[in-house]
Amino acid sequence: MDWTKVFLSILLLPLVAALVNMLFLRRNGTTAALVSITAAFFSMVLAMIALFKCTERYSVSFPWLSLGDFQASMGIYYNPMTATMLFVVTFVGFLIHVFSVGYMSDDPAKGRFFTGLSIFMFSMLGIVLADNLIMMFVFWELVGFSSYMLIAHYWNTEEARSACKKAFIMNRIGDFGMLLGIAWTYWHYKTVNLQALEVFSSQPGFVIHGGIALLLICGFIGKSAQFPLHTWLPDAMAGPTPVSALIHAATMVAAGIYFLCRIFCILDAQTLEVIVWLGSGMVVYAGICAFAQTDIKKILAYSTLSQLGYMAAAVGLGFPGLALFHTTTHAFFKALLFLGSGSVIHACHHEQDIFKMGGLFKKMPLTTALFAIGTIALCGVMFTSGYFSKDAIIEVAYFKNTPVFILLILGAFLTAGYMGRLFYVAFLGSPKSQNSEHAHESGFFMLVSLVVLAGMSLIGGYTQGWAPFARQLVSGELDTVHHQIVSLQAEGLFSVLGILPWAIGFAIALLFYGIGAKKDALQNHLPSVYSFVNQKLWFDEIYGFYVRNVQQRFADILNFCDVVLVGGLLVRGTAGLVGVVGMMARSLHVGNIHIYVYWFLAGLIIYWSFAMGYF
């Protein structure tokens, strides 16, 4: 089989769909949906064929621009990482496309929505396949754009208006560092090809440049919404729920992690240390922030931030395979949770406040059950997919870095806490508003996606069942972890640690919040703590202050200088000087013969006095 053609088809099918939709099907949303879904379906089928049949590393490259020293190319580098990610992106992507048919059924701008989804699929698959940093950067920016476009879907709302801008600019700030990093890589390592970098870095005497690594990870910080650029992700929930599921939970934000894994060979120890702390800090920070959220999607958004923290910590601890393992399982259960919340929101007439839901288990039993599966997978309950991937990361932290280990355990506990709160309040008890009173089970298109994702959330963690080529990614690292744990005789500890955090978390949430609560218990009993958590360490306020009072003021001052000094004094000044001289000269020529005689006499006197030596 000609794999180049297969990979190119996987990549280009969504692009073709996007073009067709954009040019011909703007007003015909249903057909546009069909086109996009077909493209996503065939991409998925081809990705699955590749996953099982293409069992060797594969690379191909096409020159794209050559100007003297600058050579850019586009290419494909296929390895176990690529195989896994391709499957995850196309599989989850396809299911979310199907879900969207139901969810967006009454949206007037369906054509635009599916165009956006297809552009996103194209861009994301470009990142996954890219064989060099320049190509990655190209698609990196493109996913930023598709995210912008999809967050702005409800463009007449104030929320979307500021959220899309914020997401794009925050990503651009990260990309700024990444761009510098790529330029430096280009001249320092003399190549930006990922495979070549892997080969070089394995040679003896190769020294990793720490500065380059630090600049490159800025891209990750922006895209995966890590500290200090994390504030865009919760706001991005202004987009339609399928978008939140696909882009802001399962795939795009995970692209940052994927990028780290792709360039793992040129990350030095200090940079990895930075990543560990960023990640484990985010695990706890986002976990705490989630407690003050009442919007079901924002709770899940903070949960995503927290889970991205786990992945980052895994990379930082030197286990990129485990990071991608968690990325994979997370894609399944977080997509499930978001789509489940989408199903709820759709049923409750776009009500997103969990304290106005309640009692949904009676109205939508299937959605509730599937959401519960997502919840236990996220919390890492035994034998679900999250259990395998998250616990592996925690085990690594146990023998690598104790403070991080404690943070990650704390994170697991918090996860169960806020998910328990969400589940008890929104799904159990009795309805708390008209909207939830009249909720009804969702339609076929939405439920079928949820069922498939729930299945994957349950079994996705059994790597024995993975395609052999993709399993190479994780099997070695899992064995290492297992041996370490055995040699430290910590199996007993971990059989307890695999249960305690979520068990305690669920229990405390149940005791504290109760079933079907109408008010937030934390807000009632400890308002000061609640408001502190709700402030999220004032990041938005600080950035807002900076933009309004520093950046804009500075811009205004420069503008003033430009108008007054350059435009006014220098230009008008010069012109004015000429004008004044002209005016003075003109005042001498008034066309009156007497005046001219006086001027003549005055000139004569001056001339005479000069000649006589009086001057």
Partner: protein, 516 residues
């Protein structure tokens, strides 16, 4: 074969001129005839330039990078060494193509408008276009300058007659600045001529050979380069000689602004790349440090000033000034990669700036306001216009897929090799431009419909983008995408020409030039 090809250059240069002159005495009421004649004048250069761009063969047996060379003696050859010489190389081809495409787009846009004294309006635009095609096709530096003036003068007239608010002052300021810049660069060009007494010609190709053989590392050469740098720099709105540009463009009628900001402004940059830097590489390297600082002024200072604008058209004007900074930085590398990136960005910026000017006028037609704080929610009534505007903004801020990205990216990479610390402030431009670009989009199109728009639309119902606006916009976008998606086809031609001019000077340039 050259005679065959060069005859098409004559078509591209003189068809607009002749049609333009034909329109001048036309009856103002014969609108349809006027439009048809003008259409011919706009379409011919575009077709010729596209045909050249695709049929352009990179290197001939003799290694000569110029194609379609021709020369007509107008009686000045023996006396001064001036002839009407045309020819295209990999550097001028993209500019020639740019002039053809933007010419057609602005022409179609102008044809569709109902300007009063349409025949005069179109005639001036056609004369401008003729001058543009001639400038980039000339291989004689006298005619290179002559055609530039031919294009420049109609601009002033057009601002004076059809301009918007404050047109008098704007036209005057622009005229003073541009005449000054043109005069200084003319002196520089004549100084070049004077330094080659042995060949006594304005023929660029001969001059290049002469200067590359003799070196030209003298004080005179140094001053010549300075004249060219600042003369051309003023024409390109090099900071701090920029203040004419935003206000001038704000006052100019859209088609004139499209052609000037998009194409004519590139004259100075083109002069630096095609004439000043290859002829005087050593003198050039003496001025690099100054150029870099001023270019950073363009990016950072003007970038912040752009953020402070509340008037859409001024914002677009300042943003166009800002992007000149990247191109200057590309030129400052004096390397094949940097120059190549500069040309790519000139091409891209020409298209995207024209598009932005055009679309902001389209916005104005619907809202009757340029005030960004008063607008809002236009996207609901004009979704297609919003789509075009977003695409133009994305091109302008260098999103991959549009040609601008390759220009900026190549420049950053090329610059890093020589002046890594310059890349850091320069690349902040990608954030700055995203800030103001997206803010404009959000303020105009997103959110709820603003009060002033509601009031205005009660009496003037808002329609989506019309055919006369859509076609030019599509032409410009397609060209941006053609280079943005697959830049190699243009890059290869560029490289072949640049390697000839810049591969060697790079080696002899003094190594001690650096920016602290």
């Amino acid at each position: 074969m050259d005679a065959y090809y060069s005859s098409f250059i004559y078509l591209a240069v003189f068809v607009p001129l002749i049609t333009g002159l034909m329109l001048l005495p036309m009856n103002t009421s014969a609108v349809n005839t006027t439009r048809s004649i003008a259409l011919v004048g706009f379409v011919v250069p575009c077709i010729v330039s596209i045909w050249f761009a695709f049929g352009f063969y990179t290197s001939s047996a003799s290694g000569e990078v110029y194609q379609a060379l021709s020369s007509v003696d107008l009686g000045l050859e023996g006396l001064l060494g001036i002839s009407l010489r045309f020819g295209l190389n990999g550097v001028s081809m993209p500019m020639f193509l740019l002039a053809g495409i933007v010419g057609l787009a602005s022409g179609l846009y102008a044809i569709a408008t109902a300007a009063h004294r349409l025949n005069l309006y179109l005639a001036l635009l056609l004369i401008m276009l003729s001058g543009l095609m001639g400038t980039f096709a000339s291989t004689d530096i006298f005619f290179f300058y002559f055609f530039h003036e031919l294009a420049l003068i109609p601009t002033f007239i057009m601002i004076g007659i059809w301009g918007g608010q404050g047109r008098r002052t704007a036209a005057m300021e622009m005229a003073v600045y541009l005449t000054l810049g043109a005069m200084i660069s003319l002196v520089g060009l004549i100084m070049l001529y004077a330094q080659a007494p042995a060949i006594k010609t304005f023929n660029l190709i001969e001059l290049k050979k002469y200067f590359q053989a003799t070196g030209g590392a003298t004080v005179l050469a140094d001053n010549t380069f300075a004249m060219l740098l600042f003369g051309f720099g003023i024409l390109v709105s090099l900071w701090p000689f920029h203040s004419w540009a935003p206000r001038g463009y704000a006052a100019a009628p859209s088609s004139a602004a499209m052609l000037h900001a998009g194409v004519l402004k590139k004259f100075g940059l083109y002069g630096l790349i095609q004439i000043a830097a290859p002829l005087l590489p050593i003198a050039g390297s003496q001025w690099i440090e100054v150029l870099i600082w001023l270019a950073l002024g363009n990016i950072v200072v003007i970038g912040f000033i752009t953020m402070a604008q509340r008037d859409l058209k001024l914002m677009v004007g300042y943003s166009s000034v800002m992007h000149m900074g990247y191109i200057f930085l590309g030129i400052a590398t004096l390397s094949v990669a940097g120059m190549g990136g500069a040309i790519l960005l000139m091409f891209a910026h020409g298209l995207s700036a024209a598009l932005m000017f055009m679309l902001s006028t389209s916005v104005y037609r619907r809202t009757h306001s340029y005030d960004l704080n008063e607008m809002g929610g236009l996207g609901q009534q004009a979704p297609l216009l919003a789509g075009f505007f977003i695409a133009a903004t994305m091109a302008n801020i260098g999103l991959p897929g549009f040609a601008n990205f390759w220009g900026e990216f190549t420049i950053f990479i090329a610059l890093w090799n020589q002046y890594p610390w310059v890349v850091v402030p320069a690349a902040t431009g990608v954030i700055i431009s995203a800030v103001y670009g997206l803010r404009a989009v959000a303020n105009i199109f997103f959110g709820e419909v603003s009060q002033s728009l509601k009031d205005y639309s009660k009496e003037h119902p808002i329609t989506d983008i019309r055919l006369g606006e859509r076609v030019p916009a599509i032409i410009l976008l397609v060209a941006l995408l053609a280079v943005g998606l697959y830049p190699k086809w243009m890059g290869d031609k560029l490289e072949s020409a640049l390697l000839k001019d810049y591969a060697k000077p790079q080696a002899v340039a003094p190594a001690n030039v650096h920016v602290n």
